[in-house]
């Protein structure tokens, strides 16, 4: 549905997007993740035809955004970082104007506007001026605007930014409901959002793609070795050595201690499940097994490790360039 090939955007000597390639299949939600200034907005602006790329190609809904921009735009809905509202218009007037320029046929306009207002829950502010709306409503009117012509592709730039927790949950649910009918790209720097809403993630840093995968695979890939956390009541005896003798264990570290209750981090060979053996060892030793759980790297940690790793590689190159 969306195909991006070797996209590059330079502003003078500054490269905002550097050789970015990825694909999004029909009905999929792709999360675009990266720190501020990583090139997320620039990539989205290229995909929506707002600005041309310096190099590379982008195909949206079967149309090249440079060669057939009007056709591509007809099939794309876009919510920019700040919802593009005309402050002196009422919500209903605004949506009616957007419906016109997005090419919704006159006969269907009224019905489209009505149903989209219900869907995004803004029907209670239809006759209010856009300038009088709260941040949450503005964001939802922005979403309604992007959906009004029932586009194949939805591009949402930080759709939950500035919303309160309840609104964030509602908006995420709305986006999830939209997938299937629409192919969605959403950008964010909030990590749980990605694991909750997206099927695939593109992590971008300094204009470059550093990883493309599902949130689960990303977590697994970065785990490297498997680590378990085990908390036992050994009644004062030292369990460290016994745990280290369990087959497959590579390393045991004491993590915390509260009188006789001790927590250990147990690392094992990759791909080997040692939970049964570990539990048996604890129980046969007569200790109390209080907790046993796998320790996963959170998306936050993955994200940080990916983006800082990248920066570490980058540093010397930049220094020579500046010198």
């Amino acid at each position: 549905m969306i195909e991006v090939q070797h996209l590059t955007k330079r502003y003078g000597r500054f490269t905002a997007v550097d050789d970015v390639s990825f694909r999004v299949e029909r009905g999929e939600i792709l999360g675009f993740l990266g720190p501020n200034g990583a090139g997320k907005t620039t990539t989205m602006r290229i995909l929506t035809g707002y600005m041309p790329a310096t190099e590379g190609k982008a195909i949206v809904a079967g149309f090249d955004v440079f060669d057939q921009p009007i056709e591509a735009k007809r099939r794309t809905g876009y919510l920019p970082e700040t919802p593009p509202l005309y402050h002196d218009m009422t919500v209903a007037d605004y949506l009616s104007f957007v419906a016109k320029i997005k090419g919704v046929p006159p006969g269907e306009r009224k019905e489209r506007i009505r149903s989209i207002m219900v869907k995004t829950r803004i029907d209670d502010v239809a006759s209010k001026l856009c300038s009088r709306l709260s941040k949450g409503y503005k964001q939802r009117v922005g979403l309604a605007q992007a959906l009004i012509h029932n586009p194949d592709v939805l591009i949402l730039d930080e759709p939950t930014a500035g919303l309160d927790p309840k609104q964030i949950i509602e908006t995420r649910q709305l986006i999830k409901d939209l997938a299937g009918d629409h192919t969605i790209i959403l950008s964010t720097h909030i990590l749980p959002e990605v694991s909750q809403t997206c099927q695939r993630v593109v992590i971008i840093s300094k204009g470059r793609v550093v990883a493309v995968d599902t949130p689960d695979n990303l977590t697994a890939r970065l785990r490297g070795s498997e680590t378990l956390y085990v908390q036992i009541d050994a009644g004062g005896t030292d369990a460290l050595a016994s745990l280290g003798r369990v087959a497959g264990v590579t390393r045991v570290v004491e993590a915390d201690r509260r009188s006789s209750i001790v927590g250990y981090e147990v690392e094992s060979e990759q791909g080997r499940d040692i939970r049964r053996d570990l539990a048996r060892t604890v129980v046969t030793s007569g200790w109390g097994l209080l907790e046993l759980r796998p320790m996963r790297m959170s998306l936050e940690e993955i994200f940080l490790s990916l983006t800082t790793e990248d920066m570490a590689h980058e540093q010397p190159v930049e220094e020579t360039a500046n010198a």
Binding site: T48, P84, K102
Partner: protein, 256 residues
Amino acid sequence: MRNILAIAQKELKSYFASPIAYIVIGLFALFYGYFYAVYLQVFLRDSMSMGQMGVGAQAVNVNQQMLRPVLQNVTVLLLFVLPAITMRTYAEERRSGTIELLLTSPVSDVQIVLGKFLGALALYGVMMAVTLVHNGVLYFFGHPEWKPILTSYFGLMLLGGGFLSLGLFISTLTTNQIVAYIATFSTFLMLWVISWIGSFSSGMFTDVTAYMSIIEHFDDFTKGVIDTTHVIYYLSLITFGLFLTARSVDTERWRG
């Protein structure tokens, strides 16, 4: 065409949703009324003294001696009023980010430019409609010739169109409405007085500066003459202004 009209309609609506339309039209009506009253007095005094000298009422012409000077003063008024109409067109879209909506919608740059131009021209038309009241009263009591009045309005629309297209272009260069106003006003003024510098010499320079002057082309319209030279001048000016606007928007895309 549907897109152009949708944008033009939106523009016109937003003028009336903000104080701009009311201030522009209000001030214009006030000054127009003032000019009208003054020249009416001048005309009455002149025709009375002509009558006493026995020349007769036929010698005084309400078109030439009253309407023409009033309309020439209207053009001065446009110098101040029209930049206020165009100053926000693009500047405001860029400041508020709504330009992203327009540029990512399935409409071409040319359609956006034409829509905005027609919207501004429509407001200008509404403003000019105010003067129909005065001229209607004149019709009721006097006997002006309607043809020169018609050509004058035609000329005013062309002149205003030229100003508006340039104003639109200047509005694409800044996000600050005050900067847009001052730059537009200065450009208009320059186009107005450019012939002065040529009046001291002769030959090519004089001809060129006189041709460039936006006001030199207007006079014939008030006399009831539609000269294609002038019509072509104004139409080229409008096209030039709209062309620059479209180019400027496109350049802005590349720069980001």
